[in-house]
């Protein structure tokens, strides 16, 4: 018997009919499910392992107008050695800085650092710039030594229904990245609905993003558990469809160890063990690391230390 696909013959892929594959999201149930992950009770060994894993997944971030090479140096040292070696805490996954601070960061970290350099680009945080300048910014930032580019999508284009333009911009940015990893910031706080978050996630993954990321940290609300769940489910469906594992990065608003552990629980129970690695899951944060370290020390020494005992990032 002849297969239907054979009958269709050499008709180009784009001409074949595809029913829309972007599923709808129910707000109430997705929020309820996301909340369920906060009910996991992590004690003793599970807690300590989770806290250390969270540190290893942190993109230690500073994104301020007043950033200087000196401030970035502090950040880099903190990322390489978050606390005294005796606690056995791994380094953070990356530092995340503005393009102008990539060069100083590379100087501090050296060429083969375990800590990656991530740089926001493409007219961060608004993305309201011409594509030409965005791509030039990406190319220069990569040339300066960035391992990872955190781009922002053109939310204006998305909300105006110009999904193809958004797709093309991401694809072009991916080309400009060369060997650098591309994280695509959706700025979910501006997309507002879960349906939008899902659609934007699918576009970003199909256009070549290696990671999808919730927020710039400049818009409230930033990362939330339900938004992250919607994105993780998009990642799962993309994996089944294409075989490619896309990474996830919630960023902004994650300040406490307890919050961070809830995100890890969600990753574990939604995408499984393969995603519990800094290669596929990151948390964008600045103050979180200090709380993680306080909890780690508490697990080891059975009492809390004052904040004075923890180095500033």
């Amino acid at each position: 018997m002849m297969k239907a696909s054979a009958l269709v013959g050499k008709r180009p892929e784009s001409m074949r009919f595809h029913a829309p594959l972007v599923p709808t999201i129910d707000q109430i149930m997705v929020e309820e499910r996301a909340n369920a992950f906060t009910k996991r009770s992590l004690k003793t060994s599970a807690k300590l392992a989770g806290l250390k894993m969270a540190v290893s997944m942190c993109d230690l971030t500073t994104l301020e107008g007043k950033d200087t090479p000196g401030k970035v140096a502090y950040l880099c040292r903190k990322a390489v050695q978050p606390i005294e070696a005796k606690y056995g805490v791994p380094p953070c996954a990356a530092v995340c800085v503005y393009p102008n601070l990539v060069k100083p960061a590379r100087v501090f970290l050296g060429p083969n650092s375990p800590v990656k350099i991530a740089a926001v680009a493409t007219g961060f945080p608004s993305g309201q710039y011409p594509l030409r300048t965005k791509l030039e910014e990406v190319r220069r930032t990569v040339a300066d030594g960035a391992d990872e580019i955190d781009m922002v999508i053109d939310r204006g284009a998305f909300l105006a229904g110009e999904h193809a333009r958004m797709f093309d911009e991401i694809a072009a940015t991916k080309q400009a990245c060369g060997a650098a990893h591309l994280k695509v910031i959706l700025e979910t706080g501006e997309l507002v609905t879960y349906d939008n978050v899902r659609l934007a996630s699918d576009i970003a993954m199909r256009a070549g993003g290696d990671f999808i990321k919730t927020s710039t940290g400049k818009v409230s609300p930033a990362a939330t558990l339900p938004v992250t769940l919607v994105m993780l489910e998009a990642i799962r469906d993309h994996f089944f469809a294409t075989g490619v594992r896309i990474g996830m990065k919630p960023a902004g608003g994650i300040r406490t160890a307890k919050q961070a552990l809830a995100y890890l629980v969600m990753v574990k129970e939604t995408l499984g063990d393969d995603w519990l690695t800094p290669d596929l899951f990151r948390i964008g944060a600045s103050s979180l690391v200090t709380d993680l370290l306080m909890q780690i020390v508490k697990c080891s020494e059975a009492n809390y230390q004052a904040a004075d005992y923890f180095s500033l990032p």
Binding site: I28, R33, T44, A143, C177, G178, R236, T242, V244, D273
Partner: protein
């Protein structure tokens, strides 16, 4: 991979390096791996703070009294099979003493008391329940096997909410039914099941007391402990003697209540089989009757549904409380176009359910309530396999002692299969397909039961169209197993009659002249 390309990247001119292509996992390896990379350590609720007395007596006329029968039966922890305590078995003489105490309290105190005074007692009881919520949750879990997460977050908040809700009605009764004057019925005999021991007691007691009735209540023989603890709370609240009487025991005790001539109202929640016996026994008497019986609810997923959330609803519908839920969504009807996707999602999702020690705060699925129930579940699943269905289960180790059954679902099920017709009352789902909304309706209604149903679609108009034609007392749209004291609950057909909760729940305990 990154290290390899590091040098190229830092080339001074920013020359174009080809974009990095991520590895592609071959089709056969595209599955999620829910292994032990980050294991949750045990996190059990400490039960030692709440010791259980070695013996429990009957609660009659405000006091704990030894049974006239002189006999006691053991009560075990279904998660360990260890004996927790022994419980008095009430015979006909004990039931008679309880009914006489209730009648006396009705005639002399409770029936005559101003409604606002009755409300104060109910508010007080609700507050004490909230204060002792943790203890009651632990006790419920030890006695019945349900996970502490559920007894803590679902059962106990709802128990308190029911008392608060009906406390609020007590002094507003005369406005509840415009043009009518509600009067109490008298003595109510209430028989409750083992799946939600304390919650079912609250559903029955709160409206009965608010309306001015007095009560003889029998908890299920495997789960008497929280009801008996509730009796202590009544004492603490100063509830007048005899207003609530508790008689513990099995079927014979229940029969003594049903057949007692001085009872005005019987309220029963339990199996359809026993419900039919009670209906026969009560027929011809002047007793009022409400029955809340079994179910075989259809959970219907349309192609346009939010599938991931629908799967969560399926999980909540069938695995909540080990599937020991009369309104459990035990038949899943999936539109053919999304059948494969839904089954795949379901298969992945049940691998993350954690089965084990009910006192562990991370346990999702606790112990089956009794050896008898476990045998019934096994027998029905075996019948499904014999009739050609395919079984999918959570791959997990079950504890060596106690009664356990892993979350399961059966595919390849037709209406002719027993698993599609009979109530399994366990964590077992039967999955079937349909093509059109009309077919979904026909299949959903093709059952002698009619307690509940679920509809999953993104289209509001479809929800209303379906809901109007489904023969079910409770219909959830894009959610499942949601309860609120203000919302009436009850069934059609062989799922019973009468409503509990809300205004209809109040009407079930009043004479409306």
């Amino acid at each position: 991979m990154k290290a390899k390309t590091q040098d190229a990247k830092i080339s001074p001119k920013g020359s174009v390096v080809p974009a990095m292509a991520p590895p592609v996992i071959p089709l056969k390896d595209r599955h999620l791996n829910f292994g032990g990379k980050w294991e949750y350590a045990p996190s059990p609720e400490d039960a030692r703070a709440y010791p259980i007395a070695p013996r429990h007596e009957l609660f009659i006329n405000g006091k704990f009294v030894a049974p006239a029968s002189g006999t006691y039966f053991p009560s075990i922890n279904p998660a360990t099979e260890e004996q927790l305590t022994e419980i008095a078995e009430a015979n006909a003489a004990d039931v008679d003493a309880a009914v006489r105490a209730a009648r006396r309290a009705y005639d002399r105190v409770w029936g005559k008391m101003p409604a606002r005074e009755r409300g104060k007692y109910l508010y007080r009881i609700a507050r004490i329940i909230q204060e002792k919520a943790r203890e009651l949750a632990v006790l419920e879990t030890i006695d019945g096997g349900k996970p502490i997460k559920e007894s803590r977050d679902v059962d106990l908040p709802l128990v308190a909410a029911h008392f608060f809700y009906y406390a609020g009605w007590a002094d507003k009764l005369k406005y509840a039914f415009p043009g009518k004057t509600p009067r109490p019925l008298g003595v109510a005999g209430q028989i409750i099941p083992w799946n939600f021991p304390l919650l079912m007691a609250a559903w029955k007691l709160a409206p009965a007391l608010a309306c001015g009735n007095t009560v003889v209540l029998k908890p299920a023989e495997t789960t008497s402990l929280t009801a008996l603890r509730l009796a202590q709370i009544f004492q603490e609240a100063g509830l007048p003697e005899g207003v609530v009487n508790l008689v513990t025991g099995a079927g014979a005790t229940g029969a003594a209540i049903v057949n007692h001539p001085d009872i005005n109202k019987i309220a029963f929640t339990g199996s359809t089989e026993v419900g039919k016996l009670i209906a026969r026994a009560v027929a011809g008497s002047r007793k009022h009757l409400t029955l809340e019986l079994g179910g075989k609810a259809a959970n219907i997923i349309f192609e346009d549904a939010p599938l991931d959330q629908a799967v969560e609803g399926v999980i909540a519908g069938i695995y909540f409380n080990q599937g020991h839920v009369c309104c459990a969504g035990s038949r899943l009807l999936v539109q053919e176009g999304v059948y494969a996707r839904v089954v795949k999602k379901l298969r992945d999702r049940i691998q993350t359910l954690r089965v084990g020690n009910p006192l562990d705060k991370n346990t999702d699925i606790g112990a089956i309530n009794s050896a008898g129930q476990l045998a019934k579940i096994r027998e029905l699943v075996q019948s499904g396999l014999d009739e050609g269905a395919t079984l999918q289960q959570t791959q997990c180790a079950l504890p060596a002692r106690g009664f356990w059954y892993p979350p399961s679902f059966l595919t390849g099920v037709t209406h002719a299969h027993r698993v599609a017709q009979e109530e399994i009352f366990g964590p077992v789902l039967s999955v079937m397909t349909f093509r059109t909304p009309e077919e979904a309706l026909e299949r959903a209604n093709n059952t002698p039961y009619g307690l509940s149903a679920g509809i999953w679609t993104d289209k509001g108009s479809k929800i209303f169209k379906m809901a109007a034609k489904l023969n079910a007392g409770v219909i959830w749209a894009n959610c499942y197993n949601k309860f609120d004291p203000a919302s009436p609950f009850g069934g059609y057909k062989e799922s019973g009659f009468g409503r509990e909760g809300g205004l209809p729940g109040l009407a079930a305990y009043c004479r409306l002249d």
